[in-house]
């Protein structure tokens, strides 16, 4: 894992001291809310429905045990004993007091964490593949690239006031586990024909009001030029992004309006100018890449574990193993996903006790690493197969062994109207009702991969456009109403869902989802055909007939 150097720590500590002072001046009345609001937002502190909400950055979703334990401590000491893991691999606390905010950030800084750039029109937390460093199909560890981008984008003076927020994701495998093409910039680390590492660059994807799958802007930019190329991408956006209209201010609108070819031309022109300048651009020397890469060197795996297999005697364990455990690139090890989606629970919520337990398990069984996924689950990336049964037992005892990864009850849901001041409708209860409706594990497993994603408003934090089944909460004359979308995907086959027709009330949307799912069961070619593939084969019409009769 990356560890702060002197500069990182000094920057974060200075920001904590500055924000502490700003909070004190707000509390004393020296600052009005209008003056204070942009300052608190730069430090991840929102005012939400019930209280202040603090969003803490988890760079590319990677945490150490000590960091996870600190997140538990914040939940216990300063919040109401729980936190909410988000679709951007961060964590949010819902009940923060302004008078505690500075102290919380100071405590987080002791474990190299902060809330900087988790809000505002800047480059936000860099997200990545939760299986980074463990997946058999990656060409490199994408976190090395993500960390370099984190350093470039932190307090970047030119890009601290962009037309709108800016989200970057980095993957390094053909399987996209980070919804890369639905980011302002999506990067896929690849090798070119000469065997050199670089990135394919997608620009202008996103969800929200005007969802778009990002077009490929450059097939390959080498590692030695990537930061300069990103600088050029941002410069063109910063110059021409629509500051006049908040709904048209994201880069996806600029790329769409210019057209990918013209945007590419402008970026290439800017890139050429940057490269021609003294110093040849802003890319760091190879030694800096090496310094960062050293932090992500593989942990000391035991070659002697290579032939280990877990004991399969327990049938419940077998189900968890087949559903939540993935192949690791190192023989004898496995990647274990901890579902934060118990039936009837709140997607992404974890109690302080659960966080403490996961911190312990990470330290004991996963080389001190935890990952947060954009689907609001947690991952222990490097578990020896011989320890999987013990891990499952510990998780099961804490209500953390739900065997539903990528199944119908593994639902992404944004906080919605239960917590969020921008919401039109509640998301969480809909997720709970659907999970309860499909609680039967055999039924879930028979349905196979089926990703339901729910947002409480058009901002789409719940990725509803990218759900195989998406649900969007809307406000119909003060009453919650839910639109149903089908056919979205955030994976390598990215696509945007289409609205089925008129919306439903809360009970109605659960019935509509069940009718959709039952239609799929009737329509699928065989049990190996996923919901999404059936939908793509047969189209919307048979589903519409099943839903609306």
């Amino acid at each position: 894992m990356y560890r702060y150097d002197h500069y990182d720590q000094a920057m974060v500590d200075a920001r904590v001291a500055e924000f502490r002072d700003q909070c004190a001046r707000r509390l004393s009345g020296e600052l009005t809310e209008d003056q204070f609001k942009p300052l608190r937002l730069m430090n991840g502190l929102y005012l939400q429905l019930h209280a202040y909400m603090l969003r803490v950055a988890i760079p590319y979703g990677t945490l150490s045990g000590a960091q996870m334990r600190m997140l538990a401590q914040v939940a216990r000491k300063y919040d109401r004993g729980y936190g909410h893991f988000t679709t951007r691999q961060n964590i949010q606390y819902n009940w923060i007091k302004l008078e505690d905010a500075g102290t919380i950030l100071a405590e987080l800084a002791t474990v190299e964490m902060h809330a900087i750039q988790t809000s505002g029109n800047c480059i936000r937390n860099i997200s990545s593949d939760q299986y980074a460093g463990a997946a058999a199909d990656e060409v490199a560890d994408p976190r090395v690239w993500a960390e370099l981008i984190r350093q470039w984008s932190s307090f970047h003076p030119e890009f601290s006031y962009l037309p709108r927020k800016f989200k970057i994701a980095v993957i390094a495998a053909n399987e996209d586990r980070a919804a890369m093409k639905l980011h302002d910039i999506g990067l896929q680390v690849v090798r070119n024909d000469a065997g050199e590492l670089g990135c394919a660059v997608y620009v202008g994807g996103g969800m929200g009001r005007t969802p778009m799958v990002g077009p490929l802007i450059r097939e390959f930019v080498g590692a030695d030029a990537l930061m300069t190329y990103l600088e050029a991408c941002l410069r063109v956006y910063n110059r021409y992004g629509r500051r006049d209209n908040i709904y048209k201010a994201r880069i996806k609108i600029l790329v769409h309006d210019l057209g990918p070819d013209e945007y590419r031309r402008q970026v290439e022109e800017e890139f050429a100018q940057l490269r021609a300048a003294p110093g040849g651009g802003i890319d760091p020397p190879a030694a800096e890449w090496d310094r960062i890469a050293a932090h992500f060197a593989p942990p000391p795996f035991q070659a002697s574990f290579a032939d280990d297999e877990p004991d399969l005697a327990d049938p419940d364990f077998r189900v968890w193993l087949s559903q939540n455990v993935q192949a690791h690139k190192q023989p004898g090890y496995a990647i274990a996903t901890i579902s934060l989606k118990p039936v009837g629970g709140i997607p992404g919520d974890a109690s302080a006790e659960q966080m403490d337990l996961i911190a312990d398990l990470a330290e004991r069984l996963s080389f001190d690493e935890v990952r947060v996924t954009h689907a609001q689950n947690l991952v222990l990336p490097h578990v020896p197969k011989r320890e999987l049964y013990a891990l499952w037992q510990a998780l099961d005892a804490a209500g953390l062994a739900t065997s539903n990864l990528d199944l119908v009850s593994d639902i992404i849901a944004c906080p919605g109207l239960d917590y969020c001041s921008l919401a039109n409708a509640r998301s969480i209860p809909v997720a709970q009702r659907i999970a309860e409706r499909f609680a039967d594990m055999d039924r879930q497993r028979d349905l196979g991969e089926l990703k339901i994603k729910i947002s409480g408003c058009i901002n789409a934090c719940g990725h509803h456009h990218a759900g195989h089944i998406g649900i969007l909460g809307v406000d119909r004359k003060g009453v919650e109403n839910y639109q149903l979308l089908l056919g979205g995907s955030g994976a390598e086959d990215a696509s945007l869902g289409k609205i089925t027709g008129p919306g439903f009330d809360e009970a109605g949307i659960v019935d509509a989802v069940e009718r959709t799912v039952e239609a799929y069961r009737r329509l699928r070619a065989d049990s190996s055909e996923r919901f999404l593939d059936t939908y793509r084969r047969v189209g919307m019409q048979p589903f519409k007939e099943a839903i609306y009769g």
Partner: protein, 98 residues
């Protein structure tokens, strides 16, 4: 009727104007009639409340009920965490919030 609500500056807690002070309990909220603007100006300047605003509400035998679900949820707490609601674990809450 019209109620005044906002968040407590220091704690962030949802509060309601009672006629003389702010309370976290919706049942103590007072009808502010046409006086919302003046009260808000004074109270915000005195740092007793953060970002106050007026909401429409109905008087009921059980106390005032905001017209919009968002403010009812603010009054109660998240509908999915009855253990955190105000009053705590209010069994009757579902019947008026949603």
């Amino acid at each position: 009727m019209k109620l005044l609500t906002g968040n407590d500056l220091a704690s962030g807690a949802v509060v309601w104007w009672t006629g003389s002070d702010w309370s976290v309990h919706l049942e103590e909220a007072a009808d502010v009639g046409e006086h919302a603007e003046e009260i808000m100006a004074v109270e915000e300047a005195a740092r007793r409340v953060n970002t106050p605003y007026a909401v429409d509400a109905q008087a009921t035998p059980n106390g005032p009920r905001p017209s919009h679900i968002k403010d009812r949820i603010r009054a109660l707490g998240p509908t999915v965490r009855p253990d955190l609601s105000l009053p705590k674990a209010d069994r009757a809450a579902g019947s008026w919030v949603i």
